[in-house]
Symmetry: C3
Subunit: 343 residues, 3 copies
């Protein structure tokens, strides 16, 4: 029997099964420094212990997307090693900050399966939870992927398609304990725009661009212990290109969005997300945002913005779909998330 991990195939997933993912990971100031070296991240809560403390937190947490990537990376050997496509995200919530010194592990439950009509692939839905060393859940999300069948002759399972909410309701967002934006220093944070300054429907071109290098996306992806071959092995695809981890594009776009959304400090909800087109080294990533919704919250001085974040490799800002409804070829990412912002 081969000792290497061949990954799971579509027929290996059964609704209700729990998968405890391997290799817990401790994080430190090293991960934080690398995050800042890999992305132009500048949100002040994640940059300065003192700024975070002025907002009621114990210290500056690990970037919320870094925490997401660590958890996501754990799931790859069990969920997406044989995935054909990463189809979507839903019901994502950040429940607790992750601090330097914490150790993260992850567990997923299969919540849906649906064989495709071609009989060769199927869609698998999993709900993933990331836990810290105190067994507290730090984040959770649903994602669904298209996975190859290992044995074409395996019978199709009963179709179960989970009912997923199209958006996390504001009252379900979890605000980090102690968070208080009433003494928020807009000058130190980098921009004067408050929650009240953003209007539903408003769009923001984040202006800056970053040209992507192979060494950078591979270092980022490895840092999260994501081992999908397609990101690292130039001989894996017929075209000799390494596909860039979709999370690298998410982090790059989010960091670029500082320019115009410097006070959109903490991500607390992930409503939906599509990796619209593949990204390769040499692409220059740009980003624009749209304010989709706003919500008042119970924490002092804290409001929520629901944002669409779109990453592109060129093209005009705010262009998203062609006449036929398909994403434009230059659109890389279409992400729908909730973020906490000072009132």
């Amino acid at each position: 029997m081969a000792k290497t991990n061949a990954g799971r195939f579509f027929e290996d997933y059964a609704v209700g099964r729990r998968i405890d993912h391997a290799v817990p990971r401790s994080v430190s100031g090293g991960e934080r420094a690398l995050y800042h070296a890999l992305y132009p991240a500048r949100h002040a809560v994640y940059s300065s212990d003192q700024f975070a403390q002025s907002c009621g937190l114990a210290a500056s947490p690990i970037d919320d997307l870094a925490a997401f990537h660590v958890v996501f990376g754990k799931t790859v050997p069990d969920v997406s090693l044989n995935a054909v496509a990463n189809l979507g995200y839903a019901e994502g919530r950040w429940l607790r900050p992750v601090w330097p010194g914490d150790t993260l592990r992850a567990s997923s439950e299969v919540i849906g399966v649906k064989q495709n009509s071609n009989g060769k692939t199927g869609v698998v839905w999993v709900r993933t939870r990331g836990m810290n060393q105190r067994d507290e859940t730090v984040l959770e999300y649903v994602r669904w992927v298209m996975v190859r069948k290992g044995d074409i002759a395996a019978p199709a399972p009963a179709t179960v398609v989970p009912e997923l909410r199209p958006v996390v309701a504001p009252q379900d967002l979890v605000i980090p304990e102690g968070l208080d934006f009433t003494g928020y220093d807009f000058s130190l944070a980098g921009e004067p725009h408050r929650w009240g300054d953003y209007e539903v429907g408003e769009t923001i071109d984040h202006v800056d661009g970053v040209t992507i290098e192979e060494a950078e996306h591979m270092m980022a992806t490895r840092l999260w212990q994501n081992t999908a071959k397609v990101h690292f092995d130039a001989t894996f695809r017929p075209d000799g290109q390494r596909l860039i981890y979709g999370g690298h594009v998410i982090s790059m776009a989010r960091a670029l969005s500082f320019n115009g959304l410097a006070n959109a400090q903490m991500i607390v909800g992930l409503n939906a997300g599509a990796h619209a087109n593949p990204c390769f080294a040499g692409d220059t990533i740009r980003a624009w945002s749209e304010v989709v919704d706003k919500a008042e919250l119970a924490a002092p001085g804290v409001g929520a913005l629901r944002l669409r974040l779109v990453a592109t490799r060129g093209g005009a800002p705010f262009a998203l779909r062609a006449a036929d409804g398909a994403y434009l070829p230059e659109v890389l990412l279409d992400l729908d998330y909730w973020v906490l912002c000072p009132l």
Copy 2:
């Protein structure tokens, strides 16, 4: 009104105005590790806690140039986003070591403005201070940049050109509290040469070369949260090249100077500096130094060397200027600084 930062234009600077720069930054062992991964840095005080303690310090500080880059990076969105050229440095002093766990922020005062005769640009002088979380100034320097006018029709301001000292006087250099080189271990530090072994006028070819990669200079520049587009976006310049942050060349040359100046441990003064020519990925950086001056200091076992550090991308060592006085095309950097060295 656009929410993104368009940067300041020449007419936006008024002498006497103070700019508090955004996004304070906490540093840790992560930044130190990355500094050593990005530059061949080997000065023992910045490499070993025990070595630093044997020199009277509490621990190994963050590299003095890393501290400089963090402070410099903070100023970019306010000072050089619309800069045409970084013209010079003066009156730079390192006042206190920066330790892992410290948080740095920066503030600048406009001390001079002079519109150019073309009416399209002007020179702005700022004095920048970097502060830690205890509001102690850790370093200060003057730099001047050429900045575009946003509105060509804006009236020229009254010209104010600050009087800057051509060199920081030895008695104005600040020695880190407790520094004592009387028990200095030359063997552990890597070279036997003491302060007394260096003669004014002596030149040293540092021999080694490093070929620069895009991924490295971008990671370095992002680590300092320097967001100038020209370093990251290959579509920004007509030639498709990303201009390398001048500070990357400074750190590379300083690290290369270990070979011959291993005991030139701590930078305490920046007298002048010119980025003579642009640097691009693919260039192989080399360095040479000239001992410009020497000074005795009050701290036990500690002397100061004033050094010229020249970075090149080839050419003969010690060649600096053409017959007409212009820097040779292969010269990248001409830096004049004070460093502490064991007697």
Copy 3:
């Protein structure tokens, strides 16, 4: 006299001489994060403090190969600056874990010299020890290198060829204090295979591949303060290629070997090693292993596996040598080491 280090030449080594290598180095969570960004390292003891604690350790140590690289890097300016080739390793033992916060230094003793018949080069054997800040030896190994003579006319020294054991005996392996694998969590570690599941003679194709980038191998090599010109300066070799530090290949292959050897947790012995062919950026590194021997040990739940680890840049797995006994051109590394594995 030139102040730069010209390195030692063959005639500068005398049997019995001790060389204390320069520039001690403190390590932190930063080095650990970078190790995980540079290599697809996933062995759980080095990834999670809690997992390491469940195995009886105080915390997650710095990767054993990272400790090796730091010590090795210290020796380069004294041992291999003028080396023509790195010929072999023997009698390597890891004696104590290295923890974040430790400071490493290194010392070598010359234990053999043999001038080559061409009169231009010779072989030098050194036994190197790495020590922490408590003067405890953390690892030791013998390596031998071919070094140029500086003065061809220098007389040949008396030949001394040290007797080296072809393999570290199991009873000489040092098990980290407190190590106990009786409560080992195979699920968290990533694979179910125990010591008893591996058979002598068994071979494992680790399947995954990583294409190497210049920026990555240079960052890795600099992180260990290894300054050999040939790794960094594209103008150094006539072909314009930068030779990749052999240790980069070792770490890459070891990390790839997780897939099939996830429970081969801690390296404790280095029996032999050959860098069979040079590696350059663009190569895609793959790895395979052979179980060479097994040994029972005194610590609870702990066994030892002796493994051959072969790194290639293509070719068929398990192919090693041509008919004439020479390494195949695609073989990069042939390493023979002992590793601790749960029973």
